[in-house]
Symmetry: C2
Subunit: 329 residues, 2 copies
């Protein structure tokens, strides 16, 4: 295993067994304050307004991350951040996470501890008060992290993708294109002579100090802006996971509108994924909350989902089944 935070030495999960691993991992996780925490058949989580939002997302070694490019702590951070972002995109406040991890038997326990640290750091930074309330440890030839996240709507209606109205303002919160720039640099300079992800190449190229690579590893979704947007009257919202163009296309089709976006947005901002910002529409007279800034307007549905300078913008992108090259690294 060739990972960012050396050394990945020490005992493996196969040597220590499930119970010891569980002990060492759970003590590092963010605890939150569930009504009943880990250790029973289920956790019990409060849902003060009689509903909860729920999302699930899986990260697999190879298509979703490479140990040569991300440390275990980075992987934990990103798994937490991407799920928290989906909760925020409904206008909800994160109330808990459950985490299932399948690790090869020769995985050093330090890797699982690093992932737990990443979860704790991400939750502390992005959604303080939230915690990992339960989980599952399993084994697999492919390292896999599956996260399910919950949130509380605080008596507000959920903000769906389908509510944008003609005349609404289109606005975004969070960074655009940084994670994609970082990934492009890793693909360009973080590989060996055969084009395979390489820790040595990352070090030699100084990519650990590149702030965009940092964002690819540890995105900073504006979680608090989700509930703020809901309270400010957002009519539609979603999480920018696959890139502004693709995700704006989803919002446009769900709402049966066309979105016109500012000519000032460059191609990386338009097509770069994994920043996990929030895209939302607001009534024309709304005061945009938090980090939201105007990037366009909602038009009647035309031939294209998305237009810039009067020209349609493609709204398709990466498909894990069709497009992954099969390299893990």
């Amino acid at each position: 295993m060739d990972a960012k935070d050396e050394p990945w030495t020490g005992p493996t999960v196969g040597e220590l067994g499930e119970l010891v691993v569980l002990d060492r991992v759970t003590s590092r996780l963010p605890q939150g304050s569930p009504l009943v925490g880990p250790g029973d058949d289920c956790a019990v989580v409060a849902a003060p307004d009689g509903r909860f939002v729920v999302t699930t997302d899986m990260m697999v070694h190879g298509p979703d991350f490479r140990w040569a490019w991300s440390s275990p702590s980075d992987v934990g951070w990103k798994a937490a951040a991407t799920n928290l972002s989906d909760v925020a995109a409904m206008g909800a406040v994160p109330s808990g996470l459950v985490v299932a991890i399948a690790a090869p038997q020769d995985t050093p326990v330090a890797v699982l501890e690093g992932i737990a640290d990443g979860f704790r750091l991400a939750v502390d930074a992005l959604a303080p008060g939230c915690g990992v309330v339960g989980g599952d440890l399993s084994t697999s030839s492919a390292f896999t992290v599956a996260v399910t996240a919950f949130g509380d709507l605080q008596d507000r209606a959920p903000v769906l993708r389908s509510g944008a109205r003609v005349g609404d303002v289109l606005a975004v919160s969070g960074e655009l294109g940084r994670a994609a720039r970082g990934l492009a640099r890793l693909f360009r300079s973080g590989v060996d002579a055969h084009g395979e992800p390489s820790r040595a190449a990352v070090v030699a190229s100084g990519l650990d100090e590149d702030p965009d690579v940092g964002r690819q590893r540890r995105p900073l979704p504006p979680i608090a802006d989700g509930p703020l947007a809901a309270a400010a009257g957002a009519t539609a919202m979603l999480d920018l996971s696959d890139g502004l163009a693709i995700d704006a296309g989803r919002l446009a089709r769900s709402s049966r509108v066309t979105l016109e976006i500012s000519a000032a947005l460059d191609d990386v901002a338009l097509h770069g994924g994994e920043d996990h910002g929030l895209l939302a529409t607001f009534p024309a007279d709304a005061v945009l909350p938090g980090g939201f800034r105007r990037i366009g307007v909602v038009l009647e549905r035309g031939a294209a989902d998305l237009v810039r300078d009067g020209v349609g913008v493609p709204t398709t992108g990466w498909d894990p089944y069709a497009d992954w090259d099969g390299v893990a690294g």
Copy 2:
């Protein structure tokens, strides 16, 4: 791929891509009645009493199932049943599931459709009204199904593992040892000359008609008995996933008691896992509800977690990290 319900031919997920696969799979899933269903960043699920229970469990090709022994529909059934059982073990009524699946790119779409069918059949049989409210499709070299299940406590307190009191009756609902008997037959007669799981050997040995093999593939956890036990005053309860002895040991340690079990229980009933029955303790004067029958009594904590005929019974078992042999099949 060598699976039980031939033919696994037809287009692969890599050929069809994520959106088409998603369409073909979601239409076969049990829908339930979430407040907001699949298709947005999150689903929204009702939690009428202001809380919900949550559990997660991952099934990985190799350590958890083998295509030579289980059809996709069996795998879907079992993934649903095992998670529903954890919800029932808290005394809760299942209210929803989210499902994340990672499939190799050469997986026929029919496999994912079969898994969806298994989810639908299991939910219809075990927890009618529940549904799959959300999910995620990803790719991996190891076929992986990660399920998270929710439940509603219906204004009752959750039944934990820690509440057993000296003098309580120990009772069980559901079958004991059948899934383990089925697994033993698969390991004995469902393998080729090298000891590897083999579909041809399963057919030649008539194991498809063996009812215990059927239970190993499609366990029948007594889901409705969970809420019934809670309503009848159960003081402690858990799901029998790893076998009566191991799971009774957990209940005994959590409750700081010793459990005395009936001499009539044989070794397969004691140590066979994966039946997903319910083990519970009730006040001595309680009327045992549903399928519960008395199998012992709660004693003051002694040297052993579990005793039978005055002799301690081992309460340890299979560890996925230490004990999986690495064979997929």
